[in-house]
Point group: C2
Chain length 259, copies 2
DNA sequence: AGACGTCACTTGTCCTTACGAGTGATGACT
DNA sequence: AGTCATCACTCGTAAGGACAAGTGACGTCT
């Protein structure tokens, strides 16, 4: 029927035609696309070609395919969950990272001992193979159902002399901040944000659809002297969550950074 | 040969075997994987099955395939570029967002007029179909070659009475901040971070490899009364860039947000 | 009426065959 | 020596066929 010509491969032409129909609104969000057989007839191509085109659109995150049903136009609404990265001061004078309290724990936290890798060692300003307490959590946002994987890493050097950290590595981060404050630390935080495709186990744990990146946050808590005390990592699906940072000018001396 | 059995589909078993070999280090980063023909022989499967397995690994971002050469294990180093999101105060008392100055412009900025969409309208606290000046830039980080797409949106209501904004919508953001400050605004910023898979034109413009998400930043500049003045959007490949936020406690009243 | 089996439709998997196209080395020709 | 054609290897594209598996509706049997 509607023979197409322009770009390169046949399946790309088919993909482009469908993509255009989606983006132009001809195929509405949540609606069912024509079946593979219909697309074969419509464009006069074979099934592998149609499936190849559909695979391309899946990889772009434009459609979801359900076995036995068909292909649905994905609704690209904005994420259901916004993680506010602003620090607020509570009535008793301690600081709280708001996002630390939003989640429910889906499972019992699992604690273990491990050592720094190249990545975690750099963030904690330690070498590699330094001893750490670790604690992994599976978190769920009760209102949206969004899942997240959380990890707390506490260097032995930080836990030294703070009994609760060594004895209860599963203490929640918010409580840890409280303890550190009681021990005289004035805390600041720095966060690094990255995005990448999930590994299969992350895809399964976080229940991610096709072509959904994970947001990977690494938060370092610094003590009074600016030395890193603990490291937290949060991984969650980028389709369900976004980050919001409130930036206010401070009075630090000029420092042009560019790592 | 090494017949595999466990999970579901054949191609998934093949993919799992290769994935394991990569993650365990048997296939080193940057090294060449066996060719499709060799994998067919190795696992005793047909070419489509091998290609299906390879497609899965590409979608995970584990390998890169080059036409005529073969499949290479991707090196998953940390991004070459860190965007520092800390505000510094310069000697003359104005504020600068450091990342605004790091980039080179790869092309002449293109300016246009447009209207708010649902998304941009929400961020600017305007309705839809409100008039805007727009300016698109293609940016390049000279040291790493990382590319980024930048967009500035200035509502007519903001440009009113500030001649340079209406006459020169291609003014660089840093300069715009300066102008707004001269007009008496004490600026603050808020940023929203999202990640998603790129559209084909973004893939091409940003020169992204397979299975590479884009980081999508939306930065709103607020005036003295907190009202949004301008909106900037920055899109760049998540393989080349990461974001770093420095968070310092402020003295705002407690406000538990959760959108 | 209710439970359940069947059937038509969907996508998922797997195979075979064929040719097009990019890459690099080899070797012949100038 | 240098240039260029050829070739073998790689992945990319396209078609065909066949059967498995998930889904929902329809109709029959109890």
């Amino acid at each position: 029927m509607s023979e197409i010509q322009r770009p390169g491969a046949l399946y790309q032409q088919v993909a482009a035609a469908i993509r255009e129909a989606i983006l132009s609104g001809e195929f509405e969000p949540d609606s069912l696309l024509p079946s593979e057989a219909q697309l074969m007839a419509r464009y006069g191509v074979s099934r592998p070609t149609v499936r190849n085109a559909i695979a391309a659109l899946r990889a772009e995150g434009l459609i979801d395919v359900r076995h036995g049903k068909g292909s649905y136009v994905r609704t690209s609404g904005r994420p259901a969950l916004t993680l506010e990265r602003r620090i607020t001061r509570t009535a008793d004078g301690t600081f709280v990272m708001p996002s630390g309290d939003v989640w429910d724990e889906a499972e019992k936290p699992s604690t273990y001992r491990t050592r720094t890798t190249k990545d975690t060692g750099r963030l904690l300003q330690l070498g590699t193979e330094e001893a750490l307490f670790g604690c992994d959590r599976l978190l769920i946002d009760p209102s949206s159902g969004t899942r997240a994987m959380h990890r707390t890493l506490i260097p032995f050097t930080t836990a030294e002399g703070i009994a609760v950290l060594a004895e209860e590595p599963s203490t929640r981060p918010a409580a840890i901040y409280g303890v550190l404050t009681q021990y005289g630390h004035k805390l600041t935080w720095s966060e690094t944000v990255r995005a990448r495709m999930p590994l299969p186990d992350e895809r399964a744990t976080l229940r991610l659809p096709d072509a959904t990146p994970v947001l990977h946050l690494a938060r370092v808590t610094h003590g009074t002297d600016g030395r890193p005390l603990i490291l937290e990592e949060l991984r969650t699906g980028a389709d369900r969550a976004e980050l919001a940072y409130r930036i206010t000018a401070d009075k630090q001396p000029t420092r042009r950074t560019r790592a």
